[in-house]
Amino acid sequence: MRTQPLILVVDDESHILHVVSLKLKNAGYQVITAEDGEEGAAAALEHLPDMIISDYQMPYMTGLEMCLKLRGEEATRDIPAIMLTARGFSLAEHQLAQARISAVVSKPFSPREILTHVYELLGDQPQNGQENVSTP
């Protein structure tokens, strides 16, 4: 059984994976990562994360296609998802609704803003998070 919520981060740019993972881990979440849509979909089906944060533009399968695929599977149908997009690029409303994307964040994003979305979607931060814990 998981003690902390598990978040899957999918992006083909490793620096984004590192930055987002670190921010989430510091806030007390467990994180798994994948580097393209296919790998992301497989990881989601295997680990059934509590949330997915995915880039839109990726090789083999876009983040949107990955989410659509996961919406078709019983086990991953309701996992909340956040999509990262390039600045100035916008996804159509119906696409977002169909893939049930809860929030879209444009790059370069503020890691803090992503965390705010995560709190909103998963409830308060986990008990052992270091983000808002005072240090002596």
Partner: protein, 547 residues
């Protein structure tokens, strides 16, 4: 017999290496310079016997320095007993003289031990039967002396690789942290530059900037105090605040002013760890530490950003001040642009006033006329519900509406008494002359209808085109009313000023013939006090002028 439990002591060994050594089943020791050893993991029975034996301790003490030297070479302690030291790179470099804390080492035991005198002594010491003990130890995983060197080499490589991996992980973590901060900064600047439009209300922009910065830096409050600089106009000396603070705004402003005094001509951001060090009244009640970022243009101080108390309880660092500083640069540019924009506006209006004064000066009776028409035109436009920008344009159109009079001979403009038809024709040319003067100024294109059509009449009997009703552009109708009102209210070469009540009655009487009836109704209900104040000002100016 009892054996002391093994204590996993603090170790500088990377966790993955410990795990692998565990899986290999080798015994890991923690060895102090005095020869005392603790088993960290995989304490085989023989290992426990050895570390408790005083003779083993003596041998370890003698060999301790060697453990720090060549990790890839096993140190032979006794026949069939080898140790592979695992000191960190730093320790190896600095040597035993520098650091005498316990060092991790792998204990390897071979069959030769069972034949040795030392083993017999250990058994005697523990009051154990030598043969039975040897038989039991023979079941443990023993290494052959031929393998020892290769094994030591492999363990040393594993140690080196794991340490390097650890360093890389640390480096990656610190780079990711730094990158995350850079993202934060970039996203903040993107957001602000997007909203940095000169004609958006500055208060809104500055309030937003304060709020964003408070959130990004993660402080309990962030304030922006602008300097007492007249060119900042309505922003001068204003305080913007984001986040809850126990003090009232005026107290915060006073605190800001004192901080501004404290930092003087400083240009760099400043982090104060303890606000009690600053002699600023009331500050320590709301702030333990403080970050201050001066906002400066090339020549002058424009204000300061100051905030305090990280929400996560951490202390303010240079990362925070760097973030604030890049935002401060944007704010400075915003304020400078605003001042330049205001300068330009002031210059433009000043030039227009000068131009209209020049026109009005041609005829002493019409002194201040353009300014009054502009004033009442704007008031009427406001009453008609036009937006702020349009009202401002009506004002400017009012200032220049008679510019064409430059082209009308002075003897006609200033002629006392009635004009001849020929002279009146000359006067009637001034709207079109004005239109020609201004038509090439792109920024004044929208004002042209006010200049061209302020002498048109609602019934179509006006000039120059004889337009009627709503065919007359709105600017023309607005200024036509304001123009006629001012003409009736002031002395003219050909008659004295009418009484105010009489003028109002005339406006009412001509609504629907000379004037747009709806505008006339709005006009008579305007507040005329500013108009009378202006008349008084113009009369005083006139008296001061040399005869």
């Amino acid at each position: 017999m009892t054996l002391a439990p093994s204590h996993p002591a603090a170790t500088d060994l990377p966790a993955p290496l410990r795990e692998r050594l565990g899986e290999l089943g080798v015994t890991l020791l923690h060895v102090a310079p005095d020869g005392r050893a603790q088993i960290q993991q995989n304490g085989a029975w023989i290992a426990r016997l050895l570390v408790q034996a005083p003779s083993f301790r003596v041998s370890l003490r003698r060999a301790w320095d060697q453990l720090l030297e060549r990790p890839d070479t096993p140190v032979t302690l006794w026949p069939g007993v080898w140790l592979v030291g695992l000191p960190s790179r730093r320790r190896r470099r600095l040597g035993a003289a520098h650091d005498r804390s316990p060092v991790s080492a792998v204990l390897l035991v071979g069959a030769e031990l069972l034949e040795s005198e030392q083993f017999r002594a250990v058994c005697d010491n523990h009051e154990l039967d030598y043969r039975a003990t040897a038989a039991r130890v023979a079941h443990d995983r023993l290494v052959s002396s031929a393998e020892v060197h290769r094994l030591a080499q492999m363990i040393a490589w594993m140690h080196e690789d794991a340490a390097q991996l650890n360093r890389h992980m640390d480096e990656l973590k610190s780079l990711s942290t730094e990158l995350g901060e850079a993202y934060e900064e970039l996203s903040l600047l993107y957001k602000l530059s997007g909203s940095m439009i000169v004609n958006q209300p500055a208060e809104q922009f500055l309030t937003n900037a304060c709020g964003e910065l408070q959130q990004v830096v993660g402080v309990s409050w962030m304030a922006l105090l602008l300097a007492d600089e007249p060119r900042l106009e309505e922003l001068c000396d204003q305080l913007f605040l984001a986040g809850p603070v126990a003090h009232e705004t005026h107290t915060m402003r006073a605190i800001g002013q004192q901080i501004m005094e404290c930092i003087g001509e400083r240009r760099e951001p400043m982090v104060v760890d303890d606000t009690r060090e600053l002699a600023v009244e009331g500050l320590s009640e709301i702030a333990d530490d403080l970050i201050v970022i001066p906002l400066r243009s090339e020549k002058q101080r424009l204000g300061i950003l100051f905030g305090s108390n990280k929400l996560d309880g951490a202390t303010l660092t240079s990362v925070d001040s760097k973030l604030c500083d890049s935002l401060a640069n944007s704010l400075t540019i915003f304020l400078e642009n605003r001042m330049l924009y205001d300068d330009m506006q002031a210059m433009f209006l000043g030039t227009l006033h000068a131009l209209t004064s020049a026109i009005d000066a041609k005829d002493s009776y019409t002194h201040g006329h353009s300014e009054r028409v502009a004033l009442m035109g704007r008031k009427l436009a406001e009453a008609a519900g036009l937006d702020t920008h349009t009202c401002e344009r009506v004002y400017i159109a009012g200032l220049v509406h008679d510019v064409g009079k430059i082209g009308v001979p002075e003897r006609v403009l200033c002629k006392p008494g009635k004009l001849t038809a020929r002279e009146f024709d000359l006067v009637k040319m001034h709207p079109e002359i004005g239109g020609r003067i201004l038509q090439d100024i792109r920024q004044m294109e929208d004002l042209l209808p006010g200049v061209l059509y302020h002498h048109e009449r609602w019934d179509g009997a006006g000039y120059p085109q004889g337009l009627a009703g709503e065919d007359i552009p709105l600017f023309g109708r607005l200024l036509g009313l304001a123009d006629a009102f001012d003409a009736m209210s002031s002395d003219r070469t050909y008659r004295a000023a009418m009484q105010f009540d009489h003028v109002i009655a005339e406006v009412r009487r001509h609504a629907g013939t000379q004037f747009d009836p709806q505008l006339a109704e709005l006009f008579v209900n305007l507040d005329f006090q500013p108009f009378f104040d202006l008349i008084q000002k113009h009369q005083q100016n006139k008296l001061r002028r040399p005869a």
